[in-house]
């Protein structure tokens, strides 16, 4: 049954790839995959990318634009009728005029960008850039594709009883022991279990814990599926070996889990992730560092399990037709403007350590890999503070309202200089199991943490030497050059 559905799935992907290969010969297209958990900055990245390309921002490292070979960039009509359009205009207005960050994404959306450029030897061409935005929570579902209900239940329960999560999972676990999985199915029990389980997942996302590995994603961001049976299930403590009787609670839960995978997860994966040319993985390392070592390890676990699902590697002719793969993958530690630039190398080292397995695998498959510290929109300036212990390299900006640092709460109107703490030189020490390399918010020590990355308000537009004012950024041009600069040769 699963084998057949897998084969059908592969055949579908191959057929689509074949159709697109034919189209791509005449009209080159880059499908840019923007991968990132929730709050990693996907929407801001896309908005800044489109804004910068369309208005010709300040991108010295992005060669086609810097050397003037890009004639125009325009938005094309949405290619797929069933998918909403990425609301670029609204997001740009929120970011630029209101100086607020966009709301978290609740729905999938798409945008198609046409880049008219002149190639190095003078030919006029057009490159189509397809970009997809989606709630980052949904990404957590991808690892479920390879897990049975029993495996998933056991993992969830083990996680809930361990480390920082055990304090949050109390009421769910208490309810769990009262359920008999072999009893006849009861909708009330199922709803209550799903509600408590969802509440536990929501609690894990609090800034103080900043946990990442929280599948199923639709429990956190249901989209248009709220309340449907496919979302009304929860892990159960299943007895070993015994086959549950027909009509029991565990059979019902398993059926719902399977239909969740088939109805919700698989189409999402098929539509948006199985066929990517280029990929950027946005990771909000700083939020995890804010919270503590448990959050860092949890983020690593989530990234590893997600990246396992992707097809990365340089395809030959045959594989380009039947098994398209992302040939370039960029890992970006976002919100790099929350740190002074002298600390960017350490931030990159931490991210590289976190995704070391995926980097090695991508290199083995022949994909090009790079790791950068990125700020798609740079909200701060730099400076330094002369203190007792020497000079502190700091960043200066307007903190968002209600942010706190050093026992002080900001109102969003005053500019402050923040020194966020020194990142460790040895990135490996952060990931040693059971280590408590630093204290974060999870440890409950109030303001006495080792790092404090404050969220800042978006910046004002910056006047560039020629043309319209543009959003400042850090290394967005390098990311663009890496991701599709070679397709604009």
């Amino acid at each position: 049954m699963t084998l057949i559905s897998q084969i059908v799935e592969q055949a579908r992907l191959a057929a689509r790839a074949l159709a697109e290969f034919g189209g791509g010969l005449f009209n080159p297209t880059v499908r840019l995959g923007i991968t990132g958990l929730s709050r990693a900055g996907k929407t801001v990245f896309i908005t800044a990318l489109v804004h910068g390309l369309m208005r010709g921002g300040r991108f010295p490292v992005f060669e086609p634009l810097a050397s003037g070979r890009i004639a125009a960039v325009r938005l094309a009509p949405q290619p797929h009728d069933a998918v909403p359009r990425f609301d670029y205009e609204n997001h740009a207005r929120t970011l630029v005029d209101e100086r607020r960050w966009p709301e978290s994404t609740r729905q999938i959306s798409e945008l198609r960008l046409l880049i008219d450029y002149q190639s190095q030897n003078g030919a006029l061409r057009t490159l189509t850039l397809d970009i997809v935005d989606y709630p980052g929570e949904w990404l957590l579902d991808l690892p479920l594709l390879g897990k049975s209900y029993e495996q998933w239940s056991a993992e969830c329960i083990a996680q809930g009883r361990h480390g920082a999560r055990s304090g949050l999972a109390g009421s769910w676990l208490a309810h769990l022991v009262t359920i008999d999985p072999l009893a006849p199915a009861d909708e009330g029990v199922a709803i209550e279990a799903a509600r408590l389980f969802t509440a536990y997942l929501q609690a894990c996302r609090d800034e103080r814990y900043a946990m990442s590995l929280l599948p199923p994603g639709r429990f956190l961001m249901p989209g248009d599926l709220a309340g449907s049976p496919a979302l009304t299930f929860a892990p159960l403590e299943l007895p070993e070996g015994a086959e549950p009787p027909h009509g029991s609670l565990s059979v019902m839960m398993r059926r719902r889990y399977d239909s969740y995978r088939e109805v919700v997860v698989q189409p999402f994966f098929r539509e948006h992730f199985a066929r990517l040319d280029r990929q950027i993985v946005l990771v909000d390392t700083l939020a995890a560092l804010n919270a503590g070592p448990d959050a860092v390890r949890d983020l690593q676990g989530a990234l590893v399990s997600i990246l396992d699902c992707f097809r990365i590697g340089r395809g030959g002719m045959f594989s380009a037709l039947f098994r398209p793969r992302a040939s370039k993958i960029l890992f970006a530690a976002t919100k790099a403007d929350h740190l002074h630039h002298s600390a960017h190398d350490r931030l990159e080292a931490i991210l590289a350590q976190m995704v070391a397995g995926a980097i090695a695998q991508a290199g083995f498959e022949g994909a090009e890999v790079d790791v950068i510290a990125l700020a798609a929109v740079r909200a701060t300036r730099e400076g330094h503070v002369r203190g007792e212990g020497g000079t502190l390299p700091s960043i200066i900006g307007f903190p968002a309202p209600d942010e706190t640092a050093g026992g002080e709460t900001f109102d969003g109107r005053s500019e402050v200089a923040v020194f966020p703490g020194d990142l460790p030189a040895d990135a490996g020490a952060l990931f040693e199991p059971g280590s408590h390399a630093f204290r974060g918010l999870t440890a409950g020590c109030g303001h006495d943490t080792d790092f404090r990355f404050v969220r800042f308000r978006p910046p004002q537009l910056e006047q560039i030497s020629e043309g319209l004012p543009a959003l400042p950024h850090i290394r967005l041009d390098r990311a663009m050059q890496f991701l599709f600069g070679d397709r604009l040769q």
Binding site: R58, P60, E63, E382, G406, S414, S465, Q481
Partner: protein
């Protein structure tokens, strides 16, 4: 967490201790590089100048010292003789000798400065190559700053320099910054260099084809090559004197010896074909063609040696492009050169 780590802190921006960075901020923080990218396209083909002591250098230095001494004594004796004959003549002789000495001193100083400048360009290229390898941010900025001061006197780069200067305070990584500088500053110079090489090659092939004696074209080829080396070096910011040109010539020859074997394979075919057809028509024409091709190759190698940045973002001029233009009939190369260089970077 060890004690050496500093705690996070926040300050109001009007705090007197807060200094907003307007210009570049140089911090002594050593940068760790997690991923050292190795760009296989960029190979350091240029021979490292050996800095160690050599007997040959000693011999020639000692010899020149002796000659200078002998010359000094001869001049002194001569001036003394003049004084012995007529004091007035002696005064004139002394004045002339002093002028000659002064001019010699000026020449030597200029040579030394020229050599130092060539050394600067060499080390700049090595540093740029290292920066492209390890992506070091601070070093990248230092390289570009040095490059800007090296090209300060080039009027055709004024706008490019200004554009590059506006990016000096941006956060750009080492490799990107060096490549940005290459695209901005080297592109006009590369076009000009290509034109110089091509015109020298054409001149050589023409003179060889019409000259009556082999000795004359050998001499002409040599003089033309030295002039080309000098022009290219001046174009890329060097100011070589006579010794500087000779040193560059030696570098080019050793570079030729190192890379010759590699370069032969990719362009031998075309050389043989080009030479062969021309030689069928006339032996002298074929010889001229061959000398022209050799000059073009020499010119390309000279560009490698005199350019202050390695070829990373821009394509290296390929011999095939130049030879192709050389073999074509007159009057067509203007359009070919005007077009921005499409060529594949020569491996």
């Amino acid at each position: 967490m060890t004690e050496s780590f500093r705690r996070p802190a926040a300050f109001q921006v009007d705090d007197p201790r807060v200094v907003v960075a307007e210009q570049q901020l140089v911090l002594s923080d050593s940068s760790e590089q997690a991923l050292v990218a190795t760009d296989s396209r960029i190979a350091d083909a240029i021979a490292n100048r050996s800095r160690h002591w050599r007997w040959g250098t000693l011999f020639w230095s000692a010899c020149s010292g002796l000659v200078l001494l002998a010359l000094g004594i001869a001049v002194t004796n001569f001036v003394e003789e003049l004084f012995a004959r007529t004091p007035a003549l002696g005064v004139v002789g002394l004045g002339l000798a002093a002028l000659a000495g002064l001019a010699l001193l000026a020449l030597i100083v200029r040579e030394i400065f020229g050599l130092i400048r060539l050394g600067t360009i060499d080390s700049l290229r090595h540093r740029a190559l290292t920066t492209i390898g390890n992506d070091d941010r601070d070093e990248g900025r230092a390289v570009v700053t040095d490059l800007l001061s090296l090209t300060r006197r080039m009027p055709q780069l004024a706008r490019a320099r200004h554009r590059l200067e506006t990016h000096l305070t941006d956060i750009i990584d080492g490799r990107d910054r060096v490549q940005l500088a290459e695209r901005e500053l080297m592109e006009p110079l590369d076009t000009e260099a290509r034109r110089l090489v091509l015109s020298a090659a054409k001149r050589v092939s023409l003179v060889t084809a019409v000259s009556p004696r082999a000795a004359i074209d050998m001499l002409f080829v040599l003089i033309n090559a030295l002039a080309l080396i000098r022009k290219l070096s001046v174009l890329y910011g060097g100011r070589p004197g006579t010794i500087g040109v000779l040193r560059l010539f030696r570098q080019v020859i050793s570079h030729l010896a190192m890379t010759g074997g590699v370069a032969v394979t990719d362009s031998l075919l075309q050389q043989i074909i080009g030479h062969g057809v021309a030689a069928r028509l006339s032996a002298r024409l074929g010889e001229g063609m061959l000398n022209g091709i050799l000059t073009a190759r020499l010119g390309i190698l000279t560009i490698d040696v005199t350019r202050p940045l390695p070829f990373a973002a821009l394509p290296r001029p390929a011999l095939n492009d130049l030879v192709g233009i050389l073999l074509r009939p007159e009057g067509r190369e203007a359009g070919d050169l005007g077009r921005s260089e499409p060529g594949k970077p020569e491996k």
